[in-house]
C-alpha cells in the first residue's frame, strides 16, 4: 500500500523507472515550486518492476504539467491526493505537443539562432512515438 501520509493536496507519481526521478524532478520544474514539500524515494522495492522511484509532491492539483510526464514515460502512475486520500488515478498519454522539454538538434533550424523561441515538438507518429520540431520538422532522436 502506497504511503501518502502527510500530503494534504498534491500528487504521488508511482512506478517511475528506477533512476529516472531526478530527471522528472527537473523536467516538471519541481525545484521552482514556491511552497510545498517534494519527497523523492529512490530504488524502492516494487512487485511489478523490481525497483522503482516514487515522487511525492505537495502542491495545488493543477500546478503540474502532466503532458511532460506522458512524454517521459507514459507508464508512470499518477495519483491525485486530496485530504490524505487518493481521489483519482490518472492515465498518461503521449502528449500531442511538448514545449521546452527537449531541444532541436538540427543546426540548420531557426531555433539554433533565435534563442528566445520556445522549443516546440509535435507528435508526428504515435506508433513509433516520433516527435518532430515544429519549425524544421526534424525528428527528435534520444
Amino acid at each position: 500500500m502506497l504511503n501518502i501520509s502527510g500530503i494534504q493536496e498534491g500528487y504521488v507519481l508511482d512506478h517511475i523507472k528506477a533512476g529516472m526521478s531526478l530527471r522528472i524532478y527537473h523536467d516538471l520544474k519541481l525545484d521552482k515550486l514556491t511552497k510545498g514539500t517534494v519527497a523523492i524515494i529512490m530504488n524502492a522495492v516494487s512487485n511489478k518492476m523490481g525497483t522503482k522511484d516514487i515522487i511525492k509532491v505537495e502542491c495545488p492539483v493543477d500546478a503540474i504539467d502532466l503532458d511532460i510526464l506522458g512524454y517521459i514515460d507514459h507508464n508512470i502512475t499518477v495519483n491525485i491526493i486530496k485530504d490524505d486520500k487518493i481521489i483519482e488515478k490518472r492515465a498518461l498519454t503521449l502528449p500531442k505537443e511538448i514545449r521546452n522539454v527537449i531541444k532541436c538538434k538540427n543546426p540548420r533550424c531557426i531555433t539554433s539562432i533565435e534563442q528566445e523561441l520556445d522549443q516546440v515538438f509535435f507528435l508526428s507518429d504515435p506508433d513509433t512515438e516520433t516527435y518532430r520540431c515544429k519549425y524544421c520538422e526534424t525528428a527528435y532522436n534520444n
Partner: protein
C-alpha cells in the same frame, strides 16, 4: 481587421480542392491578363530575402507588379537589419506595418513559420534551407496540369540529386494525393531517395515506383521528366562530383528515346544537366514552367489577400 491572416508554409497546407481553385484562378489569369492588371492596386508585397535567390524573388515581384501592386524588400542578409542582429520575429512585427503581404526566404529551416507567428499579414514561405519551398511545388503542379490537362495517370521520372533535392521530396508528397501516379526515380546510388520518402511516403501509401540508375533506361516510359541539379556542395570531394555530374545530362540523343508528348521540367537554374540543344525541342517545358511560376504566385497573392476579381 482582426481576422487571422492565412499563410503558406508547406505545399500541403492547401487541400487538393483548394489547389484546384488556386490553379483554376492561375489559368484564368493566364487567359485574361488585362482583367487582373489592377487587382492589387495600392497593395504592397514585401520580399524579405535573407539569402539571395534572384529567380524566386523576381518571380514574386513580377507577380505583384502584374497585379498592379508594388514591392519593397531586401535581397540578401547583408542589406537587412538581420545583419544588425534583429530577429525574424521583430522584423515581421515591423514589416506588417509597411506591407500587405510578404514572401520570406531564409537559410534557417522554420524561419518563415516564426515569421508567420508574428505577422498580422499573410506570409509566404519562399524557401527555408533544405526544408520547404512551396511555391516551387505549386508551380510544378500547375505546369503539369496546364500542359498535360490533368494530374492523374502519369509516369513521372525524377532525375538527379534525389537525396538532398528538396523540390523532389515536396513534389512527391504533393503528387501522391492524385490518382494513379507512378514514379521512376533516376539517380546515382549515392544520391538515391532517402528512406523517409521511400518507406514513409511511397511504400506506406502504396505508390508504385522503381529506382533506376540510367536515365536512358527510364526515358521510353515517362510522361514527365523532372530534372534537377546535382549540387557540387553535396559531395565530399571534387573527384566524386566530376565523376557523377555527367551521368544525368539530358541531351538531344536521350530525347529521341522519349515519348512524343513527354514534358521536361526543371526548377531552374540549370547548370549543365540539360544541354542547351534540348531547349528548342517542343517537349522542353522548363521556361514555360517559369512563366507558370508567375501565374501561380499571382493566384496565391490574390487568394491570400482574399481579393476577388
Amino acid at each position: 481587421m482582426d481576422k487571422k491572416p492565412r499563410h503558406l508554409m508547406n505545399p500541403l497546407d492547401f487541400s487538393v480542392e483548394e489547389l484546384e481553385s488556386l490553379m483554376d484562378l492561375a489559368k484564368d489569369i493566364e487567359a485574361n491578363r488585362e482583367k487582373y492588371a489592377h487587382a492589387c492596386a495600392g497593395k504592397k508585397l514585401a520580399t524579405l530575402f535573407y539569402e539571395p535567390s534572384t529567380r524566386t524573388r523576381l518571380s514574386f515581384e513580377a507577380a505583384m507588379l502584374n497585379l498592379g501592386g508594388s514591392v519593397l524588400g531586401f535581397a540578401s542578409e547583408d542589406s537587412s537589419s538581420a545583419a544588425k542582429g534583429e530577429s525574424v520575429s521583430d522584423t515581421l512585427s515591423v514589416v506588417s506595418c509597411y506591407a500587405d503581404i510578404c514572401a520570406i526566404r531564409h537559410p534557417k529551416e522554420g524561419a518563415p513559420l516564426v515569421a508567420s507567428q508574428h505577422a498580422s499579414i499573410p506570409v509566404i514561405n519562399a524557401g527555408d534551407g533544405g526544408h520547404q519551398h512551396p511555391t516551387q511545388t505549386l508551380t510544378d503542379l500547375l505546369t503539369i496540369r496546364s500542359l498535360d490537362g490533368k494530374i492523374e495517370n502519369l509516369v513521372i521520372g525524377l532525375c538527379g540529386d534525389l537525396k538532398f533535392g528538396r523540390t523532389v521530396h515536396s513534389l512527391i508528397n504533393a503528387l501522391i494525393r492524385y490518382p494513379n501516379i507512378r514514379f521512376v526515380l533516376i539517380s546515382p546510388p549515392e544520391l538515391r531517395i532517402p528512406d523517409y520518402i521511400r518507406e514513409d511516403v511511397l511504400i506506406k501509401n502504396d505508390i508504385p515506383f522503381e529506382e533506376v540508375i540510367k536515365l536512358e533506361e527510364a526515358m521510353p516510359s515517362l510522361d514527365i521528366l523532372y530534372m534537377t541539379r546535382v549540387q557540387k556542395e553535396r559531395f565530399f570531394n571534387e573527384e566524386d562530383y566530376l565523376r557523377m555530374k555527367g551521368y544525368y545530362i539530358l541531351d538531344k540523343k536521350k530525347m529521341t528515346l522519349a515519348k512524343d508528348n513527354m514534358l521536361v521540367l526543371h526548377p531552374l537554374p540549370r547548370v549543365n544537366e540539360i544541354s542547351v540543344e534540348v531547349d528548342e525541342d517542343p517537349r522542353a517545358a522548363y521556361f514555360r514552367q517559369a512563366q507558370y511560376g508567375v501565374y501561380i504566385r499571382m493566384a496565391l497573392i490574390l487568394t491570400l489577400l482574399d481579393i476577388k476579381v
